[in-house]
């Protein structure tokens, strides 16, 4: 395939994530670019500052286990019904990864601040939590518009270097359809560059269909798109395919030990792209 315009190969997409990048990824219900994540691990990306918007599962788990992550910022890392994420837990306990604990709406608000080009967003709640104690970048001020005593927390804007996610549909102009998964819009607006994998890339512009247009992130925000059929596997893609629960349960059993995790990586990641 000739590479021109926004459409690139999966490896070319992975090559656009530099070592040390502030990388934003979506939660498991929102289109996780797992095929691209495996390509990133194969290319040996290092020292990522990974921000989950606002939670992550197997994607963060694999990147952390493979040693690609220096700092993880998230409201939670979980494999859902399969249980806790073993390599994440081990890396936090050993200090191999630096954790910045957050709460879901704080991450959303920090991205909204970046999207608006403002330095911070105020948010209710949070006061009296230990997160606020350890997150020295979060500040409590007095509401300057209140008559009386009204403390409120400020979250600094998060402008990621890269937002990376997977969508059902894209077009050759670089528009991507995300439907109701609007956190992906906020991520793309906030990020300096947005990299997308898509189940299908169609010839016709997504913006020509009024019923699709409101669920489209326009090409303005999208740096590159790679086609990846079943690109969220073993995580599901809403409306397309279910999570591969048996695979994820097997993973949890295997990855309890470091050796088991290495064997999983060798078989499912380092061996190269699986047949779709």
């Amino acid at each position: 395939m000739a590479e021109h315009g926004p459409i690139v190969s999966l490896d070319a997409l992975a090559a656009q994530v530099p070592d040390g990048a502030l990388l934003a990824v979506p939660p498991d219900y929102s289109g996780v670019a797992m095929e691209a994540t495996r390509a990133l691990i194969r290319r040996g990306v290092k020292r990522l500052h990974l921000v989950a918007v606002p939670t992550s599962g197997l994607q963060a788990e694999l990147l952390i286990g493979a040693g690609c992550v220096e700092t993880i910022e998230a409201a939670a890392i979980t494999l859902g019904e399969a249980g806790p994420a073993p390599r994440f837990s081990a890396a936090v306990k050993s200090g191999a990864v630096h954790i910045r604990d957050a709460t879901c709406p704080a991450i959303h608000a920090a991205f909204q601040a970046a999207e608006k080009g403002i330095p911070f967003m105020p948010l209710r709640g949070i006061i009296g939590t230990d997160m606020l104690r350890y997150r020295t970048d979060w500040r409590t001020i007095q509401n300057p518009l209140a008559e009386g005593d009204d403390p409120i927390v400020l979250l600094p804007a998060i402008q990621p270097d890269i937002a990376l996610f997977h969508v059902p549909l894209a077009d050759r102009e670089g528009n991507v359809w995300i439907g109701r998964r609007r956190e992906l819009v906020t991520m793309a607006h906030a990020a300096k560059r947005t990299l997308v994998t898509a189940e299908t890339i169609q010839e016709q512009s997504l913006l020509e269909d009024e019923r699709l247009a409101a669920g489209v992130i326009p090409a303005l925000y999208v740096s590159a798109i790679a086609e990846a059929e079943r690109g969220a596997w073993p995580i599901g893609l809403e409306g397309r395919y279910e999570p591969d629960a048996a695979h994820i349960a097997d993973y949890v059993r295997t990855a309890r030990s470091e050796d088991g995790f290495r064997a999983y990586l060798a078989q499912h990641v380092l061996a190269g792209r699986r047949a779709a």
Partner: protein, 249 residues
Amino acid sequence: MDFTPQELLIASITRMLRGLNHVAVGASSPIPGAAALAARRLSDGHLRVSVLGSRKNNFFTDGGRELFDCAAQGRIDAFFLGGGQIDGQANINLVGTGGYPRTDVRWPGSFGSAYLYFLVPRVILFREEHTPRVFVPKVDFISAPGVSEPNVYRPGGPYALLTGKALFAFDKARQRFRLETVHPGFSVADVEASTGFEFDRTAHVDVTPAPEPELLALLRGPVRDEVAETYPQFAATVMCGSDDKENRV
């Protein structure tokens, strides 16, 4: 009448959702999820239910932030939180035990608790395991505090604590739990022995009422199928229906 321990818990939660307009349930909460879906049917569809992570039982269209904005607008009446540790002031810990950040045991994280606990009027704490390692004198990490200083904006907070052994109410003025009922098969002494914090109680404590037959019919029929959409493993292994004799109380 026979019923499972899980059906008793679901029934207890369902009673606390009567008369509400909108309840939201987290992605890893099958028992509250089943209770909310059952309460919706019992309310003739008046109660709105948002199950996070569900396609069918989630009407939000504005991304992950909408739930939180919705709570801030006062449009969510009840929500559920758990905790690896919960203490007598209703502080919850979803992060881990021991020191921080290098915890001895690490849990997934605080999710939206640090926000929703402040804004949702009726937060029901739910933790099936009722042991001193869960119900501790003081949590190791405060993901979300049970009480706040009077100057802190806080329309919401803890309402009740439901465990595998008992139901407690939270008294905001006294900043303490009060034992309401003890589940069949357990005594007040059992509850005291398995709770690491002090709580209030009256001289006589009732037994938690059995699930209503109408509710059991829902749980063993249409609600089980609804639950399976979001919590397939729970629906398959716990909500087994009427043939599951050995699991009955």
